[in-house]
Amino acid sequence: MAPRDPGKRPSRSVMVLLLLACLTVLTLDARGGTSSPVEPFRTAVGNVVGPVESGTAVAVRPFRELAGYFGSNDKLRQQVATLSAENSRLRSQVETRPLDRNRLAELDGLTRTARQTGYALVAARVVAMGPSQSFSRTVTIDAGSSSGIRPDMTVLNNDGLVGRVVRTTTTTATVLLIVDQDSVVGGRLGSNMQLGFLRGQGSTGRADQLDLDLMDSSTTPARGDVVVTWGSANGAPYVAGIPIGKVVSVWSTPRETAKHAVIAPFVDFSSLDVVGVVVPRGTHGDRQLIAAGGR
């Protein structure tokens, strides 16, 4: 066996120091919650790394799309994009129809419309995705507090609900996806207006799914039922009426009376690109707002 040169042995004090430093950071951040002393450091690093990530994403985007150019010509690709956008718009119209009917029956429609037109969107692109090794589902988008984005704002795309903003830097924001395990969204079943809570399964497989626990244990969700957001006070963190997903299976255990449903989200989280952040109308920022109706 080759002799080990003594100069390369790690000094015990350095190793102990490093381990203690790790434990200190862990304790500070785990105990501190939102007011943890690590948070300013996080923001500072985010302000530096965020633009670098945005720049890298912009730089590699042409290469990512290169494969598509070889596959079909530009015109076909445009057509596909237009059709799929139209498709998802029509689908969400169809899927929310039972809900709309119920709302009309409850004479809720008028206030709903008024409130819905109060939303405005800031468009952003996903520039970084958290790896599954981190066992959490987060993405970075390329718009931040300079565009009027604040924590606890709803993020959606044209298929449905994506997640909520958890923290922002000047030019980027971190979004917690609804399929993350720590994510809880209030949901409403489209067919019978029942309320429940959706939790992310946090699975890393291709089929991202959510668990729905209904508050009223006597109701049974039907397969294919659409779940939309129930909404929170002042629209934070989730605004009401955004389609989330469809019931794919229902199950219950003999020990408890409540029914559990598994929801397949409308959004494909592995290929997120353009998303919209719901901001109050009249927000001032460096990006143009998209008001309801697409204007």
């Binding site: 390369k8 490093l18 951040d29 970084a128 790896p131 066992f135 720590d182």
Partner: protein, 170 residues
């Protein structure tokens, strides 16, 4: 000079972290991407020994903990990478010249690093999932890291050799 070398090492780490979240997300397998930051730490350990690698691992882990898409308790990757740097540095005598041993080191480090990270998640109740799911993620990440090692590790080893302060050869 020492300061410049440190900054260069930090630059390599930053590049690895940015590539990992902004580029490799598009080629991920079930969301798992090759752990470039871990490969940087292993390369540092193979050329410079455990102490340097542990310090670099702490810096890299902390960067991974706080750089934008991350939303877990800070310090978890830092702890995992300090352990990885130490372990990889201790076996370096055998792994320095043999390709197979280097691959085995990377595989072992990927397994240990991701596992330590997962275990701290269990202890802190932060993003913990079922054991089977965790093992699957750890397995995929080990395979990924071993696959990209032949492409990335030689470049990193060369870079860290160039960064090594001049010393007597014996």
């Amino acid at each position: 000079m020492a300061l410049l070398r440190g900054l260069a090492a930090l630059g390599i780490l930053l590049l690895a972290v940015v590539l990992q979240v902004a580029v490799f997300g598009y080629v991920s397998v079930d969301g798992v991407v090759p752990d470039l930051a871990l490969l940087v730490v292993v390369a540092a350990a193979l050329t410079r020994g455990p102490q340097f690698a542990a310090v670099l691992g702490f810096a890299g882990g902390l960067l991974l903990d706080v750089a934008p898409p991350a939303d877990h308790v800070a310090g978890r990757w830092a702890l995992a990478f300090v352990v990885v740097g130490y372990l990889a540095g201790r076996v370096r005598q055998d792994a320095r010249n043999s390709t197979l041993a280097a691959l085995a080191t990377v595989a072992a480090c990927a397994f240990v690093g991701t596992s330590v990270y997962a275990l701290t998640g269990l202890v802190l109740d932060d993003g913990a999932m079922a054991a089977g799911e965790m093992l699957r993620v750890v397995g995929i990440s080990v395979v990924w890291d071993v696959l990209v090692t032949p492409l990335v590790l030689p470049v990193l080893l060369l870079a860290f050799r160039r960064l090594r302060p001049p010393q007597l050869v014996y």
